[in-house]
Amino acid sequence: MLADEPIPSEELRRIDAEIRAEWPTGDAVDFEEAIAYHGELPPEKRFAEVLESADRPLLQPRAGVPRLREQIELLEYLHGEGEADLLPTTIDSYTRDNEYGKARTGLEEARETGEDTLNGFPAVNHGVEGCRELIEAVDAPIEVRHGTPDARLLAAITFAGGFRSFEGGPISYNIPYTKEHDLAETIEHWQFVDRLAGAYTDRGVRINREPFGPLTGTLVPPSIAIAIGIVEGLLAATQGVRSITLGYGQVGNVVQDVAALRALRSLGEEYLPAEVTLTTVFHEWMGGFPPDEARANGVISLGGMTAAIAAPDKVITKSPQEFRGVPTKEANAAGLRTTRQVIDMAIEQRIEIDGIPEERALIERESRCLLDAIFDHGDGDVARGVVRAFESGALDVPFAPSDSARAAILPARDDDGRVRLFEFGELAMDQEIREIHAARLSKRAETEGREQSFRMVADDVDAISDGRLIGRPGGAIGGVGRAD
């Protein structure tokens, strides 16, 4: 039965052997040899160590192309011209679906035609050797970023291949990323990933793990992201992971975003065991971008400004080409430098905004409601609890495509642009919280002279890509202050 307990060593070995047999490249994985390999890696390629000792927010882009040589060039470019502190390797969608055959075809096509028909780097097909070539070629820590519900083989190969950070988690890489994967099963799959990371950690190779905070990237109330991040952190810690980066995706309201990042850190420190070194990551706006690079730069900069105020340990940047498709390396590097400029200009300033403690208190209270409900649902077992909480709707994510979530809650922005819920479904939030949200949203409805409805949600979904934060009817901008 699913339980939040460490996978026993023999079991770990058994699964490891099993999943490595799934695809020819699994063969090359040898744990002892991999530990030795990692031991040789220079300090500047040790992800956890670099991240945890940073004295300013480190920047990391997203980037992955099918071919190895091109991936090396891309990462070198982002490190050099983009001044990225940390690098990514984003995995293609077929590999995420465990469709290694299709990924191989795509890789072969890419090699033959020179066109990138895969949307990422098929690490499983590149195998241990390919991964190591990448790690050795590039002078910065590199993380595996993907969206894979069953990432066991990917983890086995990339860990052995020298990667020392791995994004994702059973909830955050299921609920927003798939339709039919069973949540309980996904948790078991990730327990393996975490146990493997734990095994490396036990041997001195601290593998950093990063739950994917933004979820669907679309009007996710902060407390939901925080509760899920903490659950994934707990599950990982149980399996021996000691370096955890909790994430959060910008909603665009500066007060709410700064409050959320502070709540994320303090709740993370409270809930996660003391052995874990906690860091935080802030994702620049993950929802729909404006179809205009100039406007996209404004969105990116608002993220940089927020990061300067909240000072997370890491910022995942967007590119001005986010709207259209996978960015050119130049655009990706531009997003990094725009962010760097804003952060470095603003971070030395004391910018303390009114209302952050209040918003943070609300977020913490909401998060505790959700976490309590999860523990209750599992009679104290967080693994079982989270599955049942999603089943009952006590836990939910807006716009979740997964059958494991109800997707019954509806978010909308209040008159100040903060994300609230106007449809709570069965979400485990107490009456007072619901009333606070309702009051804020009815103030907005009043301002706009219309009812709360799906129409408002749809308007809010489009608002930032249409050039504003709140989806007012007719595209209006609401009450504006004056300089006095």
Partner: protein
């Protein structure tokens, strides 16, 4: 009688927000929408089109694998005897491609219309109404986005 459209995201793509908005917009415009959700296979599209006697099949794809995911799609539809209008829309190519080229590719594959991700739902609705030769139902509701 309202016309039925089948809507879904093809392949292993999980971008759901766009079709959620489209579902609402097409419903508000008077269509019966069968929303198959994300990660829908070619067969599921075909079967749903048959089962609901759909007049149009609306395929969405955002993640950049549309071309691979749609290979042979119109053969599968034909094999199921589906003769509906077919549209595809979203982010149809990996990277910063010219849309004109992308449109050609997908038209060549058999789609009646190809839309980019700047498409406002009202444009797709207007096109479908023309293609199905029906008049706008209650014009003020049809304009779901101002």
């Amino acid at each position: 009688m309202p016309k039925t459209v089948v809507l879904g995201v093809i392949g292993s793509d999980a971008h759901v927000v766009g079709i959620t908005i489209l579902e609402q917009a097409f419903s508000a415009a008077g269509f019966d929408v069968v929303n198959l959700g994300v990660q829908t296979s070619q067969e599921e599209f075909a079967e749903a089109a048959v089962a609901h006697d759909a007049e149009a099949v609306l395929v969405s794809s955002l993640y950049g694998h549309a071309e691979q995911d749609c290979r042979g799609f119109h053969d599968v539809l034909a094999a199921h005897g589906v003769d509906a209008v077919t549209y595809i829309g979203g982010n149809l190519a990996v990277g910063q491609d010219e849309f004109a080229r992308t449109r050609e590719t997908f038209e060549a594959m058999g789609f009646d219309r190809v839309f980019d991700s700047e498409t406002d739902p009202t444009e797709a609705i207007a096109a479908l109404e023309r293609d199905l030769r029906i008049a706008t139902v209650e014009p003020e509701r049809a304009t779901v986005r101002s």
